[in-house]
Amino acid sequence: MTAGHAPAAVASAGPAAAISIRGLTVTYGGGRRGVSAVQDVTVNVGAGETFAIIGESGSGKSTLLKAIAGLVPPAAGTVEVFSGSAGGARRGAARGQVVFQVPDRALDPRQPIWKSVAEPLVPRQLRIPASLRETAIELLSEVGLGMQIADRRPHEISGGQKQRVTIARALASRAPLILLDEPVSAQDVSLQASLLRLLMSVQRERGLTYVIVSHDVAAVAGTADRVAVMYAAKLVEIGAASQVLTSPLHPYTRALIAAVPRITAERAARPAQPILGEPPDPRIRVAGCRFRSRCPFAIQRCASEEPALQNDTGAGGHQVACHRWQEISEVTASTSSAPKTGREPR
C-alpha cells in the first residue's frame, strides 16, 4: 500500500498516471452475505485526462468512484492516486474532490453559499479566515456566478446554480483530481451543456484530471477522453471515447448506446432500442459472463467461462470482456439488423 511504480505491463493512458487501480474489489457487508460492488477492476487514469465510467444503476460505478476518493476501503487490490495509496499520506482534499449528483443534498441548507464554498479551506489553513469570503467569491466568479449569490442560502438559488456552487467548492482545495458523480443528470438538457462547458474550461485552465460517473451516455460521452463501461461490478469495455462510442465491441455497450433516445422527425424512424431484462441482482452469484442472461449473442461458453478483459482488439488500448466480440463485430458489420449504433455514414 505504499507508493510504488506502475508495472510497465499495465496499459497506461497518458504519460503520468493520476490514478492507478490494481485488482480492486470493494465489498459491502461481510461473510456469506457480502456483496461485491466492484470486482477485480484494474485501470489507469492519466493526469489531465477526462475518464468517464458509464453503466446502469447498481453496476458499481459510484462505488468505484468512492474507492478512488478513499471513502470506502478496498477488500482487495490497491488504489493509488498520484502515487499515494488510499491509506497513505495523500488523503481527503489532496486526493480528490467529489461533486455529487444532487446538489441539494450536497450543500448545507443553513449556511450561506460562500461558507459552503470556503469550507474545504478551513481545516487546511490555506487562507486566513478574514479573506475566506473573498476567496469564495473569486471561486464563484470562476464558475460564472456573481457575488450576489455568495450570501444567499441554497434554497434561494436554482438547481443549475447549486451545481456550479458544488463545482466551485471542489475547486477550492486546489485538488488536482475532481471526481464527478452524475454531475449533470439532475439538470435540464440546456443547463447540462453549459455545466459541461464550464467543467471543460476549468479543466483546461487548471490542468485537472476528471473522473465522471454517469448512466447517461449522451450527457457525458462528448466530454470524455476515455470511457469505461461497467456491468455488475466488472469493467466490460474500456477504450478511447471515440472508439467505444462509435464502434462498441461489447454487446452491453452496444445496447447501452442503442437505448439513448435520438431526436427524430419520424416517430418510428429510429426508436430507442430497449435492452431486455433487469440488471442482475448482485447478491446472486452467476457463473460465466454476467451479461449473458440479457445478451442476444450468448452461447454455451458464456455460461461456463467468465470472459476477461482482452487487450488484442487491434485498436490501441481498446479492451473488451466478451468471448464473441470478434464474431459479433463481423456479423453486425455485414448486416445492419443487429443493434445499430454510432454515427451513420453520410
Binding site: 436554482s158 438538457v189 443547463l191 453549459s194 462547458r197 447517461d216 451516455v217 449522451a218 450527457a219
Partner: protein, 346 residues
C-alpha cells in the same frame, strides 16, 4: 360516464388557464388540447410550469392558488367542479404517472394491494375480482413475474419495475387520458427506453390519449404526435413532432431541439447536423440557451424569451407576442415569418 363531447373530438381542452399564487402569475393564458388517441408532449425547462399545468388539470393546485380559465375534459368543466366530481374523474378517467415512482408508491403496502385499492375506490368489485384485474395489469405492463410483484413491497422492486407498477395503477380504471409527468427522468437510460416503448404501445393498443410532460425532447420525438412547448408560464409553441424537429417555428423550441442535438452529436451518437441556410457558425458552435430561464414571478417585459433569444429585436421587448396560428401550428413569436429555423434533418 360523462356527457359526450359537444362537437369536435378534443378529449381535453384547456382554454385561457391562469394560475396565480400570491403576487406571482405562474401560469398565464395556457390554451392547449389533447385529442382522443393522441400522444402529446409538453416540454420546457424546469420552472416553465409544465408540471403545474398537468396538476391543474387534475385540480391538484398548490394551497392558496387562484385558478381561472377553463379546463374541459370529455365535455365536463373540471375547473371549479365539486370535489366529488374531481375525485370521480381523477384515477378513473384521468390517470397520472409521477416522476419518482418510489415516492409515489406507499412503502408499507404491497404493490398489488395498492392497485386493488385504486380499482375498488372507483368500481364496485370484490377483492378477488380486483386482485385478478390488478394481476392482469401487472402482466400487461411487462413485469417479469406479475404474481411475485403483486405481493412485493416497493423497496423490493427496481426503479423500472416500480414505474411499471405505477403505470399499471394509472391504467387500472381504463382511463381515457394519461398524464405522465417526467415518467423516465429518474430512470436509467436502458430502462427509460423500455418505459418509452411501453407507453407508446399502451397508447396505440388502447387508443389512450397521453399528455407526456418532460424536459427531454428526444423522448418526446420518440412517442409524441404533437409537441407543446412552454416557457416561463406560457405556451409559446404548438406544432407537430415532425415540424418541431425539422423546422421549429419558435426560437425557444429550436434552441431546445438544437441543444439536444448537439449533446447527441458531441457524444457521436447521431449524425452531425447539416447547416441550415440561416444558421451562422456562432449558432452552431454552442448551445443557444445561455443564461437562466426567466423567473415567472418577475417575467421580463415583452416576449419572455427575448433576453435569451439570439434573434431578439427591439420590438420583442415591448409587448407579449400573441399566439399566431399558421397552417396547423401555433407560435408566440413576432419574427416567425422571417426566421427560418431549420434544424436540419437528414
Amino acid at each position: 360516464m360523462t356527457a359526450a363531447t359537444p362537437g369536435g373530438d378534443s378529449l381535453l381542452a384547456v382554454t385561457g388557464l391562469r394560475l396565480t399564487l400570491g403576487p406571482a402569475t405562474l401560469l398565464d393564458d395556457i390554451t392547449l388540447s389533447v385529442q382522443r388517441g393522441e400522444v402529446v408532449g409538453l416540454v420546457g425547462e424546469s420552472g416553465s410550469g409544465k408540471t403545474l399545468t398537468g396538476l391543474s388539470v387534475l385540480g391538484l393546485v398548490p394551497h392558496g392558488a387562484h385558478v381561472s380559465g377553463s379546463i374541459r375534459f370529455a365535455g365536463t368543466e373540471l375547473l371549479g367542479a365539486a370535489p366529488a366530481v374531481l375525485r370521480a374523474t381523477r384515477g378513473d378517467q384521468i390517470g397520472m404517472i409521477f416522476q419518482e415512482p418510489r415516492s409515489s408508491l406507499n412503502p408499507v403496502l404491497p404493490v398489488g394491494r395498492q392497485i386493488v385499492d385504486v380499482i375498488r375506490a372507483h368500481r364496485v368489485m370484490n377483492r378477488r375480482e380486483a386482485g385478478a384485474t390488478a394481476l392482469s395489469l401487472l402482466d400487461q405492463v411487462g413485469l417479469p413475474s406479475p404474481r411475485n410483484c403483486f405481493g412485493a413491497y416497493p423497496h423490493e422492486l427496481s426503479g423500472g419495475m416500480c414505474q411499471r407498477a405505477m403505470i399499471a395503477m394509472a391504467l387500472a380504471c381504463d382511463p381515457s387520458l394519461l398524464i405522465a409527468d417526467e415518467p423516465t427522468t429518474s430512470l436509467d437510460v436502458t430502462v427509460q427506453a423500455q418505459i418509452i416503448s411501453l407507453l407508446r404501445s399502451i397508447a396505440d393498443e388502447r387508443g389512450l390519449s397521453v399528455l407526456l410532460i418532460t424536459h427531454n425532447l428526444a423522448v418526446v420525438t420518440q412517442v409524441c404526435d404533437r409537441v407543446i412547448t412552454m416557457y416561463c408560464g406560457q405556451v409559446v409553441n404548438i406544432d407537430s413532432t415532425h415540424r418541431v424537429v425539422a423546422a421549429p417555428s419558435h426560437p425557444y423550441t429550436w434552441a431546445l431541439v438544437s441543444s439536444g442535438r448537439q449533446q447527441l452529436a458531441a457524444a457521436e451518437l447521431t449524425e452531425p447536423r447539416p447547416t441550415g441556410p440561416d444558421l451562422s457558425e456562432a449558432h452552431l458552435a454552442g448551445p443557444e440557451l445561455t443564461g437562466q430561464p426567466a423567473n415567472p414571478e418577475q417575467p421580463p417585459p415583452g416576449c419572455r424569451f427575448h433576453p435569451r433569444c439570439p434573434f431578439a429585436e427591439e420590438r420583442c421587448a415591448q409587448a407579449v407576442p400573441e399566439m399566431t396560428v399558421l397552417n396547423g401550428n401555433q407560435t408566440r413569436c413576432l419574427r416567425h415569418a422571417e426566421l427560418r429555423l431549420e434544424a436540419g434533418i437528414r
